[in-house]
Symmetry: C2
Subunit: 576 residues, 2 copies
């Protein structure tokens, strides 16, 4: 029987609630956004007692469906002031699914500055003191919790950045090896967790059963078909397993859309040195691992294990976004330095897209120079130490720019742009501008069609068709984010329209529902509407649904194009 | 013949323009807001090239009207993102009036990081290099300019904070002694001046004539009457000349409305030590000056000269707001320390209301302790040095709070509250919430009626009548800010309704117009409408027209009252 855990951090009470009818159809992002809409005042301060932090596995979480382990985490974001959902891989989503916990709602803030850990197993859920974890990075915190609670646990935790309530703070989720390498990265949700005095959540599945299926045999059968489709597709079956997400580095550079030295150029002259191919070579040569799943049941296995020069584990293979933000974006060409940054980000618990952008601003301001890898690493250390400069950088690019008097900052709704320049891939610019989440590539990944040619092709530099493309992608993503399925499944599904029916049939076989594909996309639209409505009530207006000035005025080499999709046209994204 | 100077900081050109018909009726704040509405995109970045910085004396600037020397300075504010007008005393408004310069519009930003000085005399206006002033505080910069251009000049300048484009940066105006003691303090307009590479404006009135009067004799006669009324009124004729603005300290403390230790209490146990009476004693004992005018033609003379312990000039007598923000607000009871802060604020060019609030946040965060005067002084020095911590504090309270993970921050539209707690004086809370300028006591000074009983009395703790009172005050102020008249005139005028007719007759005698008092208040409404419209187009909504959460929830001792005027009721301020 599915339930919701309600955790009050002031009263230090945990309550198990039956879920009401209206919640049933939602999972993951849908559930977190729905609860925020129902229970949180959009005008509240994100770090104060009226905000709530929601954890929700997807509708398929804990099942045998492949790649269904995404955990959605939602709150009003301290970085953007908008509603926020950020999801992460790792084992926690699956474990919550197994315990049939549909969501955790963390409320209020504690009356003192003690730290707590929420321990959940199949029989109980309780708050325990976690003062001994104060000031620890995620790696140490997780090691300490595993020592205490054993290895049949998944851990959700924050590092120093979350404790300091910095706007770039992430929430870490442990992977199959129990390492804190998967993060709900964007929007500073770790700061919300920090404000609530919650250092960690331990999910123990000892003795837990398989979740119930309305039709287990049907579920198994569809699962097999869906698996095969993922394994057969060139992106999910070959490109991603071999090179990981960083396969994109040369592709985006070729497209002239790789933001270089803080959005001054669209190509990086040393792109080879930071490419997926180069990373593959390094990992292979050092005896690292290629094709590593981030959670059990992942068949794409786009992660990797990146060893240091001595062959010892350093970090999981850094993702394309991390390598971009801390590589070409900073004029840095050193994959080892970037891997070290990746390790520090995971440990301190910071969004290295946002921090990479903040460092880009610091470089523009002359704090350190472009290309200074050691300087960048030092800035990451300063965040964890809580020095004034560290806190500035750890507050994200918009704040850093303001502190250093820089007007030119690549952010929407307070959140920094990721690794695709919208002047050279205009579809993604529409997503950045209009997503309820602020600039977020995962909210409507038009790169699939604009660059990779999946599910059709819309040329990246044209104005035509980009708004419709982004809108379609945003709806699909909002729906998919309710299921717990990894977004990369959608890359295959773009080319295999019948796989959408398989997905719906899996949901139906799990719950005994009669959903159609149409119902599913309506769900996506409904989630977007809920999120949009929250933002409007929080004071956002169409003025916030546009890119920063310089993207409209400063041509980007090599195409020398500017972003030129009119505001009014972009507003049609909201006609749902 | 009145004209407008248009200064392009990219082309380094100065153009003299005839003023168009539609500009004629506006002066001061009205003119700056009107030009911003006409010429500046509300969505522009305040520190980028599309913003403009406007300097405008009032309609009576340069005339023999008493207290008519206020200079309005306007731009889109980097602190608030709203339209902004901040006005200052000193000699510049009067000098521009004498040269019949109705406004200066500074446009664009320079292509390099050189600094410039705009030199204006009766025959010409030109941009000169000011690189030699780089990094200088206002005191040194002004001394250097006076050495170069002589003493028949008024100077408008920025200090280090403005050059660094910090959000608390002010624009300084020299007083009768040529010292940079009068500031357009709020909203970070010094940062806009810094972004434009304009270090100073020198206004040389050598050889300038009296401005023309349509009816000089009438003007003289009314002026005399108006003067007398000011001198006869107990506030403008006795209280202010003797004690200055700090006469308020004990009055507001008595009312339980003195925000103490960052808005935790409404009374300061050591209020005597920082009172106007105490300041009077110190100044007298050290041979300083009481009853000092900030510009020629001021008959209220609320300023003072504050000497150090050796009897040497230290600073002008610190104002009530400065003493509050850096005294009771920080648990500091030392007038000498506050006077030193006043000197540093004038020199570095920072708004010490905003910085005092930011230090309050830093104290809450544990950076330094409440009561640590030396620590506070050190933070001011750090601003000028541009250390990371200095830049944080110099970016204002909202940014400081965000950097240190503090949710409880007393600001509206990004601007910190001044020296009256809205839980204990509810009328001023309406002004803070609804003024187009952000939390600004001068935008609708209900204290006059709520506390001082001028022009009637509305009890400070009641909900009733506060919205109407604030609205009335905001309209009057917007109109008065067009004239160049000091706001303190309105304290007398509240008790002397016919003095409003005198004011209108002065304007008519200057320009040969036929304005009625009604026309004048319609002007005030029009200015507010222009400003409101700008803000709406900049993305502000009714959500921004409210006080921070804690004022509604946390009772303030000794009255244990909360702010409880409903948002909807406050919106009626905008029905103009």
């Amino acid at each position: 029987m599915e339930s919701i855990l309600r955790v009050n951090m002031r009263g230090l009470k945990v309550q198990k609630e039956q879920i009401s009818e209206s919640y049933t159809q939602y999972g993951g992002r849908g559930l977190s956004s729905f609860i925020l809409k129902e229970e949180v005042s959009p005008v509240c301060h994100p770090l104060d007692r009226h905000n709530k932090l929601i954890f929700a596995p997807g509708l398929l979480g804990g099942t045998m469906a492949p790649n269904s382990g995404r955990l959605s985490i939602g709150a009003k974001s301290p970085l953007t002031g908008t509603i926020k959902e950020s999801n992460a891989g790792g084992e926690a989503g699956r474990y919550l699914g197994k315990l049939e916990i549909k969501g955790i709602i963390v409320e209020e803030i504690p009356s003192d500055d003690r730290l707590y850990c929420l321990y959940i197993n199949k029989d109980k859920a309780e708050l325990l003191s976690a003062d001994e974890l104060k000031g620890l990075g995620n790696y140490e915190a997780v090691a300490s919790l595993r020592k205490k609670f054993g290895n049949k646990i998944a851990i959700i935790s924050i590092g120093q950045a979350g404790e300091m309530k910095l706007n770039t703070a992430t929430i870490a989720v442990t992977d199959m090896e129990g390492r804190p390498t998967r993060h709900a990265g964007r929007g500073g949700l770790g700061a919300v967790m920090g404000s609530k005095g919650l250092k960690a959540i331990v999910i123990d599945i000892t003795g837990a059963e398989e979740p119930e299926y309305a039709d287990k045999e049907a579920f198994k059968k569809i699962t097999r078909r869906f698996n095969q489709a993922l394994q057969k597709h060139p992106v999910t079956g070959q490109g991603l397993p071999r090179y990981g997400t960083n396969i994109l580095m040369k592709i985006i550079d070729d497209a002239g859309a790789l933001p270089t030295r803080y959005f001054q150029m669209g190509q990086f002259e040393e792109v080879e040195a930071v490419s997926g191919e180069k990373q593959y070579e390094i990992i292979k040569a050092r005896g690292g691992k290629i094709g590593h799943p981030c959670h059990k049941g992942c068949v794409i296995r786009c992660s990797r294990i990146y060893p240091d020069k001595n062959g010892q584990y350093l970090t999981k293979g850094p993702e394309y976004e991390t390598i971009w933000a801390n590589g070409p974006n900073l004029g840095i060409n050193d994959l080892d330095a970037i891997a070290q940054i990746d390790r520090l980000s995971d440990d301190y618990g910071v969004d290295n897209i946002e921090v990479g952008n903040a460092i880009g601003i610091a470089m523009k301001a002359g704090v350190i120079s472009f290309g200074d890898a050691q300087g960048a690493i030092d800035l990451y250390h300063q965040i964890a130490k809580g020095t004034p400069l560290g806190r500035i950088i750890g507050s994200g690019a918009v704040t850093t720019a303001q502190i250093f008097g820089i007007a030119r900052v690549a952010a929407v709704k307070g959140q920094s742009l990721p690794a695709y320049d919208p002047r050279a891939v205009k579809g993604i610019g529409v997503t950045y501008a209009t997503s309820p989440m602020g600039a977020d590539h995962t909210a409507g990944y038009t790169i699939a069609t604009n660059i990779l040619g999946l599910g059709g092709k819309i040329a990246p530099l044209t104005k035509e068709g980009q708004v419709a493309l982004s809108k379609k992608m945003q709806v699909i993503t909002a729906a998919l984010d309710c299921t717990g399925l990894c977004l990369f499944c959608a890359l295959m599904m773009a080319d295999e329209p019948k796989s959408w029916d398989d997905l719906i049939e899996m949901i139906n076989a799990r719950y005994g529902w009669q959903w159609t594909t149409h119902d599913f996309f309506v769900l996506g639209e409904r989630v977007l509407k809920i999120e949009r409505e929250f933002n409007l009530k929080a004071g956002f207006t169409p003025i916030d649904d546009r890119l920063p000035e310089f993207f409209y005025e400063e041509p980007l080499p090599p195409h020398n194009s500017v972003f030129d999709i009119p505001d009014e046209e972009m507003q049609s994204v909201f006609e749902l």
